[in-house]
C-alpha cells in the first residue's frame, strides 16, 4: 500500500515538474481552522463541500454555477433511459474517463461500488437517501442499471455530483481504507496532492480530465479562520477567491473595492431554532407559541443584512422541491406572546436553556434571538460551549432551544425527515437531527416519499409543514446566503449564480490572468 502511494505521489511530482515554470496557482481562503474530510460520502461542512466538488464527478451534474435539478447535464454518464414505470434506470458511461494518478480508468464496477457505498450507513452519511434503491448492477463495463423499489421524486438527483452521487475509485477506497478520508481519488478536474493540518490543501490539475486539461495548474486551499486576516490577504493579492463574511457591512465594503466581485450565492442555509417539546417549560405548547410570536424575522434579516440574508417562508428552506412558500408561520406579536405566557401561568417570565456553540456567526444569531425573546419576558440562557461539545450535547438532549443552520438536498423530504420525522429524534438508534422530538407529521413525510403523483406529493409535504408549524416544533429565523468574493482576474468560465456545493465550482475552463 505504501509503495502504491509512493508511486502515486512520485507520478504527480514528475508530471508537475516540467510545467513548474509557468504555473498558475489559484489561492483560495476558507473560513475554517481545518478540513473536516474529503470523502464525498461523508463531507457535509462548508469547508469540505467545495473541494469535494472540484475532485469528483457524478453520473450527471448540476450545470456549473447552477443549483437547479431541471438543468442537470451528463457527467460520467453520456446518456440514460428509464422504464415507463420509472423503476428501472440504465446509464451508459462515457468511455476513457481516468481517475487521478495511477488509479486507472473508470468502469461500471466503480459506479456500482460508489452508489452501494453511498447507500450503506457504515460508509455514508446519506444512506437514507438511497433507501428506495433495490439493486445497482453493472450490465457491462460501461453500463449501469439501477432498480427501484418504488418511484421516487428525482432519481437523477441522487446520482448527481452531490453527496452520495459522487463516484469514487473502488481500488483507491479499498487500498486506502480509512485514509481515503484525507486522500480522496476521483475523476474530476483537480486531484488531491497534499494536506497540511490547520494550514492548507493543495490540488493539482488532472491533465487527463475527460473534458480536457484544466487551465489552472494548482489550487491552494487555505484555512484562515480569522475573518480579518483572510480579508487582508485577499486585499493584498495573496488570495484570489475567499469565503466571505455573511454580513452586510462586509459585502458593502468589498463591493466598493476595485477589482473585486462579491458573489452572493444560493441555495441558502435555513437558520432555525428547534424547540425541545419534551423539556420543561417548552413541553407546554403555549410557551413554544409565545416564543414563535416573539421572533421578529424582518428584524433578524435586517441584522444579517439584506444583501446576504432572506426571509424564510417555512420550516423547509426556500426553493426546495416541496417547500410551502406560503406556510402559516406565526406572526411577530409581542402582546400575543405575553398573553400566551400569562395563560400558561408564566406571566412573571420564563427561563429557557440553550446549548450554544462559540462559533461567532452562530452565536451572534442567538444573541439576536435572546434579545427578541427578552421583549416577551422569555429569558434565553445561553450555555456557550466549544463546537464539539455543542454537537455532542445537542445530541444528548441537553438543549431546550437548539439553533441549527443547514442546507440539504433540495427536496423537502430530506429536510423534513432529518429534522422532523420521529425516526430522526436524537438519542434513538436511528437518530439524525430531530432536536425537537417532533412527530406530528410522520405519516405525511413517509407517505410523500413514495407518492408517485407529484401533485399529491406536494400536498402531503405542505400538510406536513403546516402541522410542524402548528405544533411549533421549530421556528425559522432567516435564510443565510453563501457569500464569496473573487478578484476580477479570475474567470470561472461559466455564469456563477448558484452554488449547490456552497462555493464556486472550479472547472477545466476556469482561468486566472
Amino acid at each position: 500500500m505504501t509503495r502504491h502511494l509512493a508511486a502515486f505521489t512520485a507520478a504527480l511530482f514528475l508530471s508537475a515538474a516540467p510545467a513548474a515554470l509557468a504555473q498558475t496557482t489559484l489561492n483560495v481562503g476558507m473560513a475554517a481552522a481545518d478540513v473536516g474530510q474529503l470523502d464525498p460520502h461523508r463531507a457535509t461542512t462548508t469547508q469540505d463541500k467545495p473541494v469535494v466538488a472540484w475532485i469528483f464527478n457524478g453520473l450527471v451534474r448540476f450545470a456549473p454555477g447552477s443549483a437547479s435539478l431541471e438543468g442537470l447535464e451528463p457527467d460520467l454518464a453520456e446518456k440514460w433511459e428509464s422504464s415507463p414505470d420509472k423503476l428501472t434506470w440504465t446509464f451508459t458511461l462515457r468511455k476513457g474517463v481516468k481517475f487521478h494518478g495511477n488509479w486507472g480508468e473508470l468502469t461500471a464496477d466503480d459506479v456500482v461500488f460508489s452508489l452501494r457505498r453511498a447507500g450503506d450507513s457504515k460508509s455514508s452519511s446519506f444512506a437514507a437517501d438511497y433507501a428506495a434503491f433495490e439493486s445497482i448492477e453493472a450490465v457491462d463495463a460501461s453500463t449501469v442499471r439501477i432498480k427501484l423499489k418504488q418511484a421516487i421524486p428525482s432519481l437523477l438527483g441522487l446520482v448527481t455530483n452531490y453527496h452520495g452521487g459522487n463516484i469514487v475509485s473502488r481500488k483507491a477506497v479499498e487500498a486506502l481504507g480509512a485514509d481515503f478520508r484525507l486522500k480522496p481519488v476521483g475523476t474530476g478536474p483537480f486531484s488531491f496532492t497534499e494536506y497540511k493540518p490547520n494550514e492548507s490543501i493543495t490540488l493539482a490539475a488532472h491533465k487527463g480530465y475527460f473534458r480536457g486539461a484544466p487551465k489552472i495548474d494548482r489550487i491552494v486551499y487555505r484555512f484562515i479562520p480569522a475573518d480579518s486576516a483572510r480579508d487582508l490577504a485577499f486585499t493584498s493579492g495573496e488570495l484570489d477567491l475567499i469565503y466571505g463574511r455573511q454580513d452586510q457591512k462586509w459585502a458593502e465594503r468589498f463591493k466598493k473595492e476595485p477589482g473585486v466581485v462579491v458573489d452572493v450565492l444560493r441555495p441558502s442555509e435555513l437558520s432555525v431554532i428547534h424547540l425541545n417539546t419534551t423539556m420543561k417549560p417548552l413541553d407546554d405548547k403555549r410557551v413554544r407559541q409565545a416564543i414563535a410570536h416573539a421572533i421578529n424575522r424582518p428584524q433578524m434579516v435586517a441584522f444579517k443584512g439584506e444583501l446576504t440574508a432572506d426571509l424564510p417562508s417555512s420550516v423547509v428552506p426556500n426553493g426546495y422541491l416541496g417547500t410551502d412558500d406560503k406556510a402559516p408561520l406565526l406572526a411577530y406579536d409581542v402582546a400575543k406572546a405575553k398573553a400566551l405566557l400569562k395563560e400558561a401561568g408564566l406571566e412573571g417570565g420564563v427561563t429557557v436553556k440553550s446549548v450554544q456553540t462559540s462559533l461567532p456567526t452562530m452565536l451572534n444569531s442567538m444573541q439576536i434571538v435572546q434579545s427578541q425573546l427578552k421583549q416577551a419576558g422569555v429569558d434565553l440562557q445561553l450555555e456557550v460551549v466549544d463546537h464539539q461539545t455543542f454537537h455532542a450535547n445537542i445530541r444528548k438532549n441537553l438543549s431546550g432551544v437548539t439553533y441549527y443552520s443547514a442546507a440539504r438536498f433540495p427536496i423537502a423530504d430530506v429536510y423534513l425527515t432529518q429534522f422532523f420525522h420521529s425516526s430522526s429524534i436524537v438519542q434513538t438508534p436511528t437518530a439524525v437531527t430531530n432536536f425537537s422530538h417532533c412527530k406530528v407529521a410522520d405519516a405525511e413525510i413517509t407517505a410523500a416519499r413514495s407518492e408517485p403523483d407529484p401533485v399529491k406529493q406536494k400536498a402531503l409535504w405542505k400538510t406536513a409543514q403546516t402541522k410542524i408549524i402548528e405544533e411549533v416544533c421549530a421556528v425559522p429565523l432567516f435564510e443565510q446566503l453563501q457569500v464569496w468574493a473573487h478578484k476580477t482576474n479570475l474567470d470561472f468560465g461559466y455564469k456563477l449564480t448558484d452554488a449547490i456545493h456552497l462555493g464556486p465550482v472550479i472547472t477545466e475552463l476556469t482561468t486566472k490572468k
Binding site: S121, E199, Q418
Partner: protein, 313 residues
C-alpha cells in the same frame, strides 16, 4: 554541570508523567469525541459507535491509559485519531516554525527590552522612562489578535513589506525571514513589556546599591558602571522572566499563529483539543512539556552563569 543536567532530566520524568496523566484525564472529561470530526455531523449513531470501537475508544479508560503509557515509554507518540498520520510527522512539520518564532520573539524581547529598561532607569521619570513605560504597557494591553491585525494592516497591506500569510514553507531563506518578522514582533511585544519592566526596576535597585556608589566614587566610567556592574545584578530576574516566558510563549503563540497563518505547535494543540483528537493532544503535550522542561533547565543553568552567588545544586 553534565551531572546537573542529567539529574534534572531524570527529575523531569515524574513531571512529564504527571502532565500526561493530567492531560489524559482532562481531555476525556470534556464532552464530545473525535467521531463528529471524522464522520461529519450527519453520520448515523451506529457508524459512530463502530468508529469508536475501531479507534479503541470504547475500551476501559485504564486499558487505554496503559497502552498510551506503554507507547510513550517506547518513544512512540502514536497516530492521530482524526488524520491517522503519525504524530511525530506532524510535530516535526511544525516544530521548526515554533522554535524559530519563539527564539525570534525572545530575541526581540531581550534586544529591545533590556536597553529600553536600562535607559529608562538612568533618567528616572525622564522622557525615555515615560516612553518606555507607556510603550511596554501598550504592548501588554492590546490582545495579540488585535495587535496582529494592526501590524498586518500597516506593514503588509499598506506598506507591503511583508506577506499577510506567513506560511513561508519556501526554501528561500529570505522569504522565510520576511514571513517571520511580523509574527515575531507581535509575539515579542509582550516579551518587550516584561523585560523592560523587570530591567528597569532591577536597575533602579542596583544603581542605589552601595557598591555602585563606591564604583562611581572611584571614578569608574559611567557606561562601565551601568552595563558591567549594575546590569549584572539585574540578570537574575531577567533570566527568570525570560525562562518563564520561553515556556509560556509556545502556548501563547497560538493566537499569533492563527492571525498570521503560521503552522505551529500551539495551533496544533488547540485544533487537537477542538477536534477531541486525544492521541494527538497527548502527543503534543509530551512535546510541549518536554520543551518547557528543557527551557527550565536552561534557565537554572543560566542563573549559575550570570550570578555566581547562586549555586547550581
Amino acid at each position: 554541570m553534565l551531572l546537573f543536567v542529567a539529574k534534572r532530566l531524570l527529575l523531569a520524568i515524574p513531571t512529564l508523567w504527571a502532565v500526561l496523566t493530567l492531560v489524559f484525564v482532562l481531555v476525556r472529561v470534556v464532552p464530545g469525541d473525535p467521531t463528529i470530526v471524522i464522520l461529519g455531523d450527519q453520520a448515523s449513531p451506529a457508524a459512530r459507535a463502530a468508529l469508536r470501537e475501531r479507534l479503541g475508544l470504547d475500551r476501559p479508560l485504564i486499558v487505554q491509559y496503559g497502552e498510551f503509557m506503554g507507547q510513550i515509554v517506547q518513544g512512540d507518540l502514536g497516530r492521530s485519531l482524526v488524520t491517522n498520520r503519525p504524530i511525530t510527522t506532524d510535530v516535526w512539520a511544525v516544530l521548526p516554525f515554533t522554535i524559530e518564532l519563539t527564539l525570534a520573539a525572545l530575541f526581540i524581547g531581550v534586544a529591545v527590552g533590556v536597553p529600553l529598561g536600562v535607559a529608562a532607569a538612568q533618567r528616572r521619570d525622564g522622557f525615555v522612562d515615560w516612553f518606555a513605560r507607556l510603550f511596554s504597557l501598550a504592548g501588554l494591553s492590546f490582545p495579540a489578535f488585535v495587535s496582529g491585525i494592526l501590524l498586518l494592516i500597516a506593514f503588509a497591506v499598506q506598506l507591503r513589506w511583508f506577506p499577510v500569510i506567513s506560511t513561508a514553507n519556501a526554501a528561500d531563506p529570505l522569504d522565510r525571514i520576511r514571513a517571520l518578522v511580523l509574527p515575531a514582533v507581535n509575539l515579542g511585544l509582550i516579551m518587550v513589556a516584561y523585560v523592560t519592566r523587570v530591567t528597569r526596576s532591577g536597575m533602579l535597585k542596583a544603581l542605589g546599591e552601595d557598591y555602585i556608589r563606591t564604583a562611581r566614587a572611584k571614578g569608574m566610567p559611567h557606561a562601565t558602571v551601568v552595563w558591567r556592574h549594575a546590569l549584572r545584578n539585574v540578570l537574575v530576574p531577567i533570566v527568570t522572566v525570560v525562562g518563564l516566558y520561553l515556556g509560556v510563549l509556545i502556548g501563547n503563540a497560538v493566537v499569533t499563529e492563527i492571525v498570521f497563518n503560521r503552522p505551529g505547535l500551539g495551533k496544533l494543540i488547540v485544533t487537537a483539543l477542538n477536534q477531541r483528537d486525544y492521541a494527538l493532544l497527548q502527543g503534543l503535550m509530551v512535546v510541549s512539556a518536554f520543551a518547557i522542561v528543557v527551557a527550565n533547565i536552561l534557565t537554572d543553568l543560566t542563573y549559575g552563569l550570570v550570578d555566581p552567588r547562586v549555586k547550581t545544586q
